[in-house]
Symmetry: C2
Subunit: 338 residues, 2 copies
């Protein structure tokens, strides 16, 4: 669905570009919602299919939300702002369960790599742990310092993050049954058939599509240019994460705007986007390790292993920043390009 | 004191090359010993001058010891082996105090960088801490997780390593007053005037100098070729440090052999040698942090900070390996060159 360029097709209106994109995303959203509902019954195949459906649902919700934000001048502004708020709520509520599960996996994998400690029983069943456990007996000595502490830290993290995940799951189920959710679903169903465009959307696409898309790109380039230069890292200073998280959100908005205007994502930004996702995951995993270390009355060996784990994840944060810098396709000077 | 090349001066005997080198090193050793004695009185200028003298003493001892080892076929073998053992004892005894002091500095600096915690009072006097303390208030939030624990970990490390240092200082003083030490000093004094060469040392230098020097280089190249390839790192596995420490010792032996035969150190190996020194320092600092974490009845926050510190130093170990690989001047294929 590659769009014609606006220079060659100056008579294409903003609405003619925006409406099909939003209708397609809304249709995806509704299809994912149906799949999610069908697979939420406790069957064997259910959980994985439901998870995939929730992922697809959030994917569409993010695209609709980003499009409503970037191209709000071409849409009914009150309606756009309201739907955006509701989609953010839904996306956040549905994403949390998955995020806790991912975070636990990441932390247990890291602990396993750090200590050679066996993974908790629930994860051993997958076969990953038994394969690694027989890896190298000679490595045991060097890792002994983490042994007991790592096992306890893993059990503590599993307890805390599984509890958080269970709560998030209940919250998601509750949200899906709420009248607030049904109102969002109705709004998206309406969007799938008719997009509430503003009067200006009948104008040629230049001002209302390319200008906002250009501004979204400028905000991204500005944010990247303002990131601290390579080598100024203070690996353990979480206060410095914010501009990176902000860059991740701006990259996402730019990506969706690019999809709307050009009909396809900007391929050179896939690598940097992935690096910023990893950055976010590692930063949140580090924070979860630090939070677990604040549990009252834990053993010093547990706290020690959590400290090692925290530092390891913060180094993953730094590594993700390096990868981002290496695969960012523009020179620093390009960040100020017109 | 660049030596003539053996291809152009085939009539130079091994003894004519070895003896002046050993005599010069022995003279350096004796000069450093006198300086050390003169500055060991408790005066203001004393400690630093004594430390410099001890450093120079160990520098000569290592070179004599390495030369006795590599070129033992050109020397009285029983005498060479005995003096080597005694020099290793002396060098180890004198080096320990300094090593503990360096390790403490490295760990406190790392803790300071990790946590922004003020350095212990004794170190604040140098002015380093006060400059950094006023650095950035906004950084405080992110570092708060390490705050109290880092301060306690620093105090614990300072207590343990200062105690170890004090013991090493007493042991060094005791060693310097022992009859064993006087016997080493006498042996080196004898070496400064007459080198106990073997009968074979009257032969041309080819077999007895260049061949052993070549073998020392081969052992180094073989050890480097056997190091695990880039990317196979298990950062926290101290059991994998041994081949790197061994490479460091072999690089040193090669360096001294090069000095003997060519009259100057091999300049391309300064960088890799420095990287392996840093590797050793970081590995030992990490071990000290891990050892401190095994102190009974420490608070979980202390243990947590020691875990972060341990991981940080293990990452320094990895960083040193990367630097070594980057500045190693030969391709892997060159490690098997004849």
């Amino acid at each position: 669905m590659r769009r014609p360029d606006h220079q060659t097709q100056a008579d294409v209106t903003a609405g003619a570009v925006l409406a099909p994109y939003l209708r397609a995303q809304a249709a995806d959203f509704l299809r994912s919602l149906r799949l999610h509902r069908e697979n939420s019954a406790p069957t064997d195949a259910g959980p994985q299919a439901a998870e995939q459906a929730a992922w697809a649902l959030r994917r569409s919700a993010r695209r609709i939300s980003g499009t409503l934000h970037t191209f709000r001048a071409a849409l009914d502004p009150l309606w756009a702002e309201q739907l955006r708020t509701e989609l953010a709520w839904l996306s956040g509520t549905l994403g949390r369960e998955h995020a806790y599960a991912d975070r636990l996996n990441r932390l247990l994998d890291a602990l396993h790599g750090l200590s050679g400690a066996p993974l908790p029983a629930a994860r051993t069943a997958s076969g990953t742990a038994s394969a690694s456990a027989s890896a190298s007996a000679s490595a045991d000595k060097g890792r002994a310092v983490l042994g007991v502490g790592a096992a306890r830290a893993g059990a503590l993290l599993e307890r805390q993050l599984t509890l958080a995940r269970t709560r998030a799951h209940s919250a998601a189920l509750q949200a899906l049954g709420s009248s607030r959710f049904h109102a969002v679903a109705d709004a998206v169903a309406l969007l799938a058939s008719e997009v509430p465009l503003s009067a200006a959307a009948a104008d040629p696409s230049g001002d209302l599509l390319h200008d906002p898309a250009g501004r979204a790109e400028q905000r991204l380039l500005g944010a990247v240019a303002a990131l601290p230069p390579y080598g100024t890292a203070e690996p353990y200073n979480e206060a410095h994460d914010a501009p990176w998280h902000q860059t991740r959100l701006l990259l996402r908005l730019h990506r969706y705007a690019h999809e709307v205007v050009r009909g396809a994502p900007d391929p050179v930004l896939a690598g940097p986007g992935h690096a910023l996702d990893l950055h976010r995951d590692a930063a949140e995993a580090a924070a979860a390790a630090a939070a677990a270390a604040r549990t009252p009355r834990i053993a010093p060996t547990t706290a020690y292993a959590l400290g090692v784990l925290h530092a390891d994840q913060r180094h993953e944060v730094e590594a993700a920043r390096s990868v981002f810098r290496e695969c960012w396709p523009y020179a620093t000077a390009a960040a100020t390009r017109p």
